[in-house]
Structures are given as structure tokens and as C-alpha cells.
């Protein structure tokens, strides 16, 4: 890898490469710049040079410039990777968030609004209207005998039944 054979005159694309090194391009620009770096030797050298300038400023002076060539030569003996990264859906978290919000609101409304099932027992505990009480009394009086038959087992009639031929 050499960096001294670069064209010293900067091109208009070098400005974009500088911003690429800083991670300051939007997605479309960054993809285009990366494509240029990977497809154009001059842009690739410029990109390398800008990385080097940054490292030099941060004090990373220790370097082996031919290390990249050594690694790339060694990689020629390695199989080419074909393991695409699983697709990342940026909308998925938003969908989960929306679903969770809707569920929370629904649950809140369901809890807050009184429903018929919960009102029914309360209504049953209320004393019947005076008119209804007057109408039901004859009905209860007429069925009182049946009510005693159930609650008083001593009065239940027991009939012994024998099956013909059961002793055979």
C-alpha cells in the first residue's frame, strides 16, 4: 500500500470522502461515497490518507504501512464470504411501540369504563321496587312447600326397589 503516489490536487469528491471519514454524510451520500472508494483506486488512497491524518493527530504514530497488503494477500487464500447479514427492519421497533401503546390505552379504557357484568350484582343487591315486591310475594308463598322439600331431607320419601333376577 502506498500513499505517496496520490494526485496532490484534491478533487471535488475528496470533500465528500473527508465527511465520510467523519461519519457526517447522510445514508445516500455515504453509500455513494463508499461505492466510489471501493471502485476507484484514487478515492481509496485518499480515504486511507484521511484516516491516517486523523490517527496522526490523535497520536497513533505506530504503523506498518504494508500490513494492509499483507492481510489482503493472506485473504486471497481464504474463501470468499457469502454470509449476508440478516435484514434489519428499522420499522420493527416503531411497530412494537405502537402496538404496546394501543394495548395500554385499550386496557386503561377497559379498566376505567364500568361494564354490565360488574353492574349486575350491584343491581341484584338493591331492594326491589315496592311494586315488584308486592307482586312477587304470592308467587313465593305458592312455592314454599317445594322449597321445604329440598332443605329437609328427613321428609324425603325413600322407595326400596328390588331387581327381579338380581340374585341369579
Amino acid at each position: 500500500m502506498t500513499i505517496h503516489n496520490l494526485n496532490p490536487a484534491p478533487s471535488s469528491n475528496d470533500d465528500a470522502l473527508s465527511a465520510l471519514v467523519d461519519g457526517e454524510l447522510d445514508d445516500g451520500e455515504a453509500k455513494a461515497a463508499l461505492k466510489a472508494v471501493l471502485g476507484n483506486a484514487r478515492d481509496r488512497d485518499t480515504y486511507r490518507e484521511y484516516c491516517l491524518v486523523g490517527d496522526a493527530l490523535r497520536g497513533y504514530h505506530h504503523d506498518t504501512p504494508n500490513l494492509t497488503d499483507r492481510v489482503m494477500s493472506a485473504l486471497e487464500r481464504e474463501p470468499t464470504l457469502l454470509a449476508p447479514m440478516p435484514a434489519r427492519s428499522p420499522r420493527r421497533p416503531a411497530l412494537w411501540l405502537a402496538a404496546a401503546t394501543v394495548a395500554a390505552i385499550t386496557w386503561g379504557l377497559w379498566s376505567a369504563v364500568p361494564r354490565e357484568e360488574t353492574l349486575a350484582p350491584l343491581a341484584a343487591n338493591q331492594p326491589p321496587p315496592a311494586g315488584e315486591a308486592g307482586n312477587i310475594m304470592p308467587y313465593l308463598a305458592a312455592h314454599q312447600d317445594f322449597a321445604q322439600a329440598v332443605v329437609a331431607p328427613s321428609e324425603m320419601r325413600i322407595t326400596r326397589v328390588s331387581l327381579a333376577g338380581a340374585d341369579q
Partner: protein, 199 residues
């Protein structure tokens, strides 16, 4: 697209069969990795061998890289393990590297590590580079010097620099680009003398 996302893009390209993209990652991180390894291994030839092995191991393990951590954090762990194994097979212990620096799950803090170890030649070249960079930065107009310093040394975003310098983001981008070009022009004669020289 952030720096981390750019690395992820490059990783994705490598995983789709583009080996050249891995070369960019090597160019981007080799100095950082060499600096790390130089704190664990003394011999410069061994450092280079371990660095090369680290990158090859990283390439082979790339299908397992999920992008949960930054690429360099992942590479850092591979580098440390490779160096440890290298030293263990030779019955040597790691030199003074603090546990705090080695076990950090986030961006490793190399400031916590021991002092640089290098050959006299590499130290001389390092001094030449440092001198050239200092001279280049000193020679920059004030607004360019401030912009490149805030970006490269302080790690500020273009937006933060624009706020600080009270100028549009486009101006910041232009100033940083011009500063980079000026510094690169000063470094070219030194770095171009021999591509095999370590600096």
C-alpha cells in the same frame, strides 16, 4: 450515516463477498490495533504477525459479527485474545496492562495501558511524523486549525463545531477538509520515503 454505521456497511459488503471492503477496515484500524498490541508484545516483528493474525481471524469470524458492538471493540477483543494465546504458547506473560483497560466492554481505554514500546527506528519515525503534524497544524489558519482539532482530537460532530464556531455546518465541513488536505501534504514526503518503514 455514523462512523459505526459505515463500518457496518463495510462489514455487510465483506459478508457479501467484497474482500476489498475489508481492506478499508484494515486501513482504518491497523494503527489503533498496532498501538494496542505494542503494549502487550515488545518485538515489532511479533506485533506485526499478531496484527495480521488478528485481522485474518476477524475476517473468518465476520459471519458471527452481529453489529451489537462497534467493529473496533469486537476487533480489539480478538486482538487481545490473539496476543494472549501467542504469549501463552511461548510461555510468556502479558506485560503491565491494567485489568480495567483489558476488561472494558465498551470502547477500550488505551490511556490506561503501559507506555509505548518501539524500536529506535520506529520511535524516530514517530517523532518525525509528530513533528510534521504539529508543524502542519501550527501553519493552518486559525479557523481551520480549530475545526480539525475539535473534530479529530475532541471528537465533536459537525453540528457541535458549527455551534461552537458560530458558522454553518457546510463551512465546518469545508474547513475540516482543507485542514486535512494541508496536513496530508506535509506527511506525504515522510510516509512516501519507504512503504516498508515502520512509523
Amino acid at each position: 450515516m455514523s462512523d459505526r454505521e459505515i463500518d457496518l456497511q463495510l462489514v455487510e459488503r465483506v459478508r457479501n463477498g467484497d474482500k476489498q471492503a475489508f481492506g478499508l477496515l484494515v486501513d482504518k484500524y491497523r494503527r489503533k490495533l498496532l498501538r494496542l498490541l505494542s503494549r502487550m508484545v515488545r518485538d515489532p516483528d511479533e506485533i506485526e504477525d499478531i496484527a495480521q493474525e488478528t485481522f485474518i481471524k476477524a475476517y473468518r469470524a465476520l459471519p458471527q459479527f452481529r453489529g451489537d458492538a462497534a467493529f473496533y471493540t469486537w476487533l480489539y477483543r480478538i486482538g487481545v485474545n490473539t496476543a494472549k494465546n501467542y504469549l501463552a504458547t511461548r510461555g510468556r506473560a502479558m506485560p503491565t496492562v491494567s485489568d480495567q483497560a483489558m476488561n472494558d466492554d465498551d470502547e477500550p481505554d488505551e490511556r490506561l495501558m503501559a507506555k509505548d514500546i518501539g524500536t529506535p527506528e520506529s520511535e524516530l519515525l514517530s517523532k518525525q511524523v509528530a513533528l510534521a503534524v504539529n508543524e502542519a497544524v501550527e501553519a493552518l489558519p486559525e479557523e481551520l486549525r480549530q475545526a480539525i482539532t475539535l473534530r479529530e482530537i475532541e471528537g465533536m460532530s459537525y453540528e457541535e463545531i458549527a455551534d461552537y464556531m458560530a458558522c454553518p455546518i457546510g463551512t465546518v465541513r469545508s474547513r475540516i477538509f482543507r485542514a486535512r488536505e494541508a496536513i496530508a501534504a506535509k506527511l506525504r514526503p515522510i510516509l512516501g520515503t519507504s512503504e516498508d518503514r515502520r512509523w
